[in-house]
């Protein structure tokens, strides 16, 4: 199966029903995307398909064929995406496990809505769990990155 992951063509020999998450982590070594619940309930595994956020733990890899897959490793070349910079300014992460998913969801939001309202930020990120409770810093960082300080 031919994939394009973070702009690079990749070829993997896998069952088309295997979740994209496991192809990314186990076959391609992209371990920035995390396994949280395996049932699309927490958002830790969020990546982009053609720029839209999807939960890779429940997305069959076949759905990614012929589409652009972006993981946290590919969000920016130097780790300096406006969201990543805002994440640092606001010291968002605590344990950090959910943060790749939070960032990828936030990036998908800003790609669709460059200047979201607070409510839009909350609604986009509400399905992403953070057991450390960094929600207020996440919201502040997203609004900061969007230029809505």
């Amino acid at each position: 199966m031919k994939l394009v992951v973070n702009g690079q063509p990749r070829e993997v020999d896998v069952d088309p029903e295997v979740p994209l998450l496991w192809v990314l982590r186990d076959r391609l070594g992209l371990t920035g995307t995390k396994y949280g619940c395996g049932a699309a309930l927490c958002g830790a595994c969020t990546v982009h398909l053609d720029g839209r956020a999807v939960r890779s733990c429940v997305t069959p890899v076949a759905r990614a064929e012929g589409r652009a897959v972006t993981t946290i490793e590919g969000l920016s070349e130097a780790g300096d995406h406006p969201l990543q910079q805002a994440w640092i300014r606001h010291a968002v992460p605590q344990c950090g496990f959910c943060q790749a998913g939070q960032l990828m969801t936030a990036a998908a939001l800003l790609a669709e809505v460059p200047a979201p309202t607070e409510e839009q930020v909350d609604r986009a990120l509400a399905p992403n769990l953070c057991r450390c409770g960094t929600y207020l810093r996440i919201r502040a960082a997203v609004l900061d990155a969007a230029g809505a300080k």
Partner: protein, 200 residues
Amino acid sequence: MPRWGLLTTLCVACAHPAAPLPPAEGLRPVAAFDAIAGRRARSVALFDEVARVLTHPRCANCHPVDDRPRQGLDQVVHDPPVWRGPDDRGEAGAHCDACHQERNSEVSRVPGAPAWHLAPASMGWIGQSNAAICAQLQDPARNGGRTLAQIQEHLAGDALVAWGWAPGDDREPAPGSQAELAALAAAWIETGARCPEEAP
């Protein structure tokens, strides 16, 4: 509608009430309504049978009157928390197809069907009476500009509607089958697409 509701409707609608239809787990076939005297009463009874599907949680959970999909037979608010969004397909960053695939996921139990989305708010009917739902269905301003024939086609052939009878995992399916629903809807339209009256 509970069985007593159907009986009440029949009694109000007919000058000479027909014998009550026997209770049914699945949908009654169209022929079961032939004995009802009067075209209007037969049409109302056919709609009430159609409404057993429309109001079943498997179908109604995606027809909320607000912006929050429901889940389960107890129709609790969808968890994880999600909202309708501007196109009934979720909010930016949290679209329905972020999680819902084109088919049910056996491993994760996440339900799926092609074009998973909510019905528009104008077609929300959780908590509405059969009379109100019937009026909604026939109102082009609320039903997406559909004719009755197009409504019947939607019920008969839409892949997302079909999911109601193949919900996967241990979910209870909607009553009957999509083909039985299609036949009942066609018979309802053929008898004048009459609506039940609101209970006093």
